[in-house]
């Protein structure tokens, strides 16, 4: 019961015109379907609610709202307050291939007007979807054009520019994951604390890169790059990693005959002449990927250190569950160990706790 109280429920609305691709995205990211399988999805009737546990105690309350005009009408009229209150994030999907851009924009405007009425502090993620249908040379131009138009509409409806983010996506490549990663990053309550702990771990291990990702959806929660890792020319490597891991999961599921959501490996190692890489479990819901430079001794030490550090990170997943007293004791137990690293620890962890909403 306490756990239920302590769970962070975040309401996320997924809206857009009918056929824009909302349910497809949801099924690919959260239900492990293939991009090819989503052709079978029919139109969503009214709202489909899914509660997705994410990172331990973050409960994503995802409202996949049917995009047909009659449903949108009902959201904006009779269900207005029910739908639009307490919204943390609105994800609005624009179909780039739609012929009726003007009415898309109108629908968007009325939606965010309703949103502003009931949840003015929510964040809006605008996904310009189906970008694979745009020829490669026109992609940036089209994206720019669309996002400028939408940005103007948002300003009219009194949303601050920092509340709105724009992403070009397509289910056929990894850009989909990039957008959703940002959504998740925004929603995870203690992202700051996690990052600080990861940074310390990275310094200890002397790793080029640390990537923390959620196990079932393979979405990257956060990452730390240091030293050589920062110069990596692949700026989109995190979403690529997501798609690589997802494909791997699918193939494992086919091989062992189990469900994709239940498949997991305990460790994955790749060593080559230029780097060493391993992925291992970190907490109940997350895995950690570590990229090390080419040194066998450091690599094996890193593996041992990460398994020793697991206990520390377990606190992150449950720290909000136990209530204020537990938070204090947890802070105290972490703080003495990190005393030597400076007194900013106390402030940093309290900063993380204060950022809980």
């Amino acid at each position: 019961m306490e756990r239920g109280k302590r769970q962070k429920q975040r309401k996320v609305l997924l809206m857009g015109r009918s056929g824009a691709g909302k349910s497809s995205m949801r099924s690919i990211v959260f239900s492990h379907h293939n991009a090819k399988d989503v052709r079978r999805l029919g139109a969503t009737v009214d709202v489909e609610h899914s509660n997705i546990r994410f990172m331990g105690n973050l409960m994503l309350n995802l409202w996949d709202c049917g995009g047909q005009d009659s449903f949108v009408e009902s959201y904006l009229t009779n269900q207005r307050s029910h739908v639009f209150t307490h919204v943390a994030v609105l994800i609005f999907v624009f179909d780039v291939s739609s012929r009726d851009a003007a009415s898309d924009m109108l629908s968007f405007a009325s939606t965010i007007r309703a949103l502003h009425e009931f949840s003015p502090n929510s964040k809006i993620f605008v996904l310009i979807h189906k970008m694979d249908l745009v020829p490669a040379d026109q992609k940036t131009a089209v994206f720019q054009e669309k996002s400028d138009g939408i940005r103007a509409t948002c300003e009219e409806e009194e949303f601050l520019p920092e509340q709105v983010g724009f992403w070009a996506t397509s289910i056929w490549d990894q850009s989909l994951y990039r957008a959703w990663t940002q959504v998740i990053y925004f929603l995870v309550p203690n992202a700051g604390t996690i990052e600080n702990m990861l940074r310390k771990l990275a310094d200890l291990l002397d790793a080029s890169e640390l990537i923390l990702y959620e196990r079932t959806t393979c979405l990257v929660v956060t990452h730390i790059s240091r030293g050589r890792g920062k110069k990596n020319p692949f700026t989109d490597r995190f979403e690529r990693l997501t798609s690589i891991l997802k494909t791997h999961k699918h193939s494992m599921a086919r091989h062992t005959g189990t469900m994709v959501s239940e498949v997991s490996f305990t460790e994955l190692l790749v060593k080559s002449g230029k780097f060493m890489f391993f992925i291992t479990r970190l907490t109940e819901n997350t895995n950690l990927a570590v990229v090390m430079p080419n040194d066998e001794g450091a690599f094996n030490a890193a593996r041992v250190n990460v398994s020793l550090a697991k206990g520390e990170f377990a606190y992150l997943d449950i720290i909000e569950k136990k209530g204020k007293e537990a938070q204090r004791t947890a802070r105290e137990s972490i703080a003495p160990e990190e005393d030597t690293r400076g007194s900013e620890d106390g402030e940093l962890s309290s900063q993380g706790l204060n950022s809980d909403r």
């Binding site: 991009a35 062992t256 002449g273």
Partner: protein, 434 residues
């Protein structure tokens, strides 16, 4: 050699790797009789067909292409040469492009009909060369210079479209089979029962059985009943085409028994369930151990190779400021990825996202960082006990050993397994040096 065009018209050969490749097959037993190197200017191997067609067949080529088994014993060189034949629209170009040129299977819809001999080749561990004969070319008729097409062929692959009516295909196949048995008895005949992706299990099996039965009967009627013909069910939309190609190519390799024995030995000592020697670029395996092969195992190993290659591509970029020329050349591989972030590569499908560059950039970099002679190695563990896992080891630039480990090969035995694999690596080097 005189051609109508200058030599620079011919596409240049791929840049040679600076290190001498120990796997270079030095199999030039009969250079004089070889028709592949007709002139000292040694044109690139891709164009062997163009070369032969332009020349009048006056070289020693014809000396043992016609007639029966006289002349020197099978001079199977290490480069498998394949010929695709079949009726119209049965899928020859698709198979060639999907296997050798990494075309995503969905894009084969846009291929046009072929009206001249199409060649494809892949420079990787082995130089695969294949050619496709369009249906309307009357290769079997006596006035056609079939020597130019059929010389030095390792295998002829006849593709039957199982979703179409296949009886005409079978009769054509028999004509080709008889022709080959008479003129080129050393060429293997393989039959792909293709486009099996949409069919039900029973239908697939029935078609398979029927085709096999008919061909066998008719061949024995003609008196060639002892000719070995192999049948495979394939489809470009899953891994079956790669498995079939692997088996076809395995038959053309003279080193196969040696590799098989080595792998079987390794499997028995290290409790490995299945081991494959993969050609990393094409994902065709060139050897496996003698336990029964299932498509499932091949699929998971092939996907695993994808994962490794992709991860290596993401993190295997080189960062050595002291080595200016090398540094200049390496990031070129990744630059196209950088600029074209807009053109996102496919994540679906079974092919790795990029061409040969990742495996090359992965391992041997002779100059820059200290320990780069170390060849890549990878492992994925499925369960806590550490028993069920997959192990991969790079043997050379484009050859990898992938093993599916079984019970009893847990973490405490890992060092021993690595030692054994090292020994296998050295043994393979020796096999190919010879």
């Amino acid at each position: 050699m005189h051609t109508l065009f200058g030599e620079n018209i011919l596409s240049p050969a791929a840049d040679q790797v600076p290190l001498p490749d120990p796997f270079e097959l030095a199999f030039n037993l009969y250079p004089s009789a070889s028709s592949d190197t007709p002139s000292k200017s040694s044109p690139p191997q891709n164009d062997w067909l163009t070369q032969l067609q332009k020349q009048a067949p006056t070289d020693g080529a014809t000396s043992f292409s016609h007639g029966t088994q006289q002349g020197p014993p099978p001079r199977r060189k290490g480069n498998p040469r394949l010929l695709f034949m079949g009726l119209r629209r049965c899928g020859k170009s698709s198979v060639q492009k999907v296997v050798f040129q990494k075309l995503p299977p969905a894009d084969t819809l846009y291929l046009e009909a072929t009206n001249k001999i199409e060649k494809a080749s892949m420079q990787s561990f082995m130089n695969f060369e294949s050619a496709e004969i369009p249906t309307q070319l009357p290769v079997l008729s006596p006035e056609y210079e079939h020597a130019t097409v059929f010389t030095n062929i390792g295998a002829v692959i006849w593709i039957i479209d199982s979703q179409d009516e296949y009886l005409t295909s079978i009769s054509e196949l028999l004509r080709v089979a008889v022709f080959l048995a008479e003129n080129y008895p050393r060429a293997n005949l393989e039959v792909f029962i293709h486009k099996t992706d949409g069919l039900s299990e029973e239908y697939k099996y029935d078609t398979f059985r029927e085709v096999r039965q008919r061909v066998q009967d008719e061949l024995s009627d003609f008196g060639y009943g002892d000719r070995a013909v192999s049948y495979y069910q394939t489809s470009i939309f899953d891994h079956s085409i790669f498995e079939a190609m692997s088996k076809v190519i395995m038959k053309l390799l003279p080193q196969l028994p040696a590799m098989e024995t080595l792998l079987t030995k390794l499997c028995s000592t290290c409790r490995i369930q299945k081991a494959y020697l993969f050609d990393t670029v094409s994902k065709i395996y060139i050897a496996t151990d003698t336990s029964p092969t299932f498509l499932k195992d091949y699929e998971v190993c092939s996907d695993y190779v994808d994962v490794i290659v992709d991860i290596k591509q993401l993190y295997g970029w080189l960062d050595a400021p002291k080595d200016a020329p090398k540094d200049g050349s390496q990031p070129q591989n990744e630059d196209p990825e950088l600029e074209s972030e807009g053109t996102q590569p496919k994540i679906e499908g079974v092919q790795p996202k990029s061409e040969a560059s990742p495996s090359k950039s992965g391992s041997s970099q002779p100059k820059s960082a200290p320990d780069t002679n170390m060849l890549g190695e990878s492992m994925v563990t499925f369960d806590k006990g550490g028993d069920n896992y997959m192990y991969a080891r790079e043997i050379s630039n484009s050859l990898s050993l992938i093993c599916l480990m079984g019970q009893g090969s847990g973490p405490d035995k890992r060092k021993l397994i690595e030692y054994n694999v090292d020994i296998l690596h050295d043994a393979l080097l020796q096999v190919f040096k010879v």
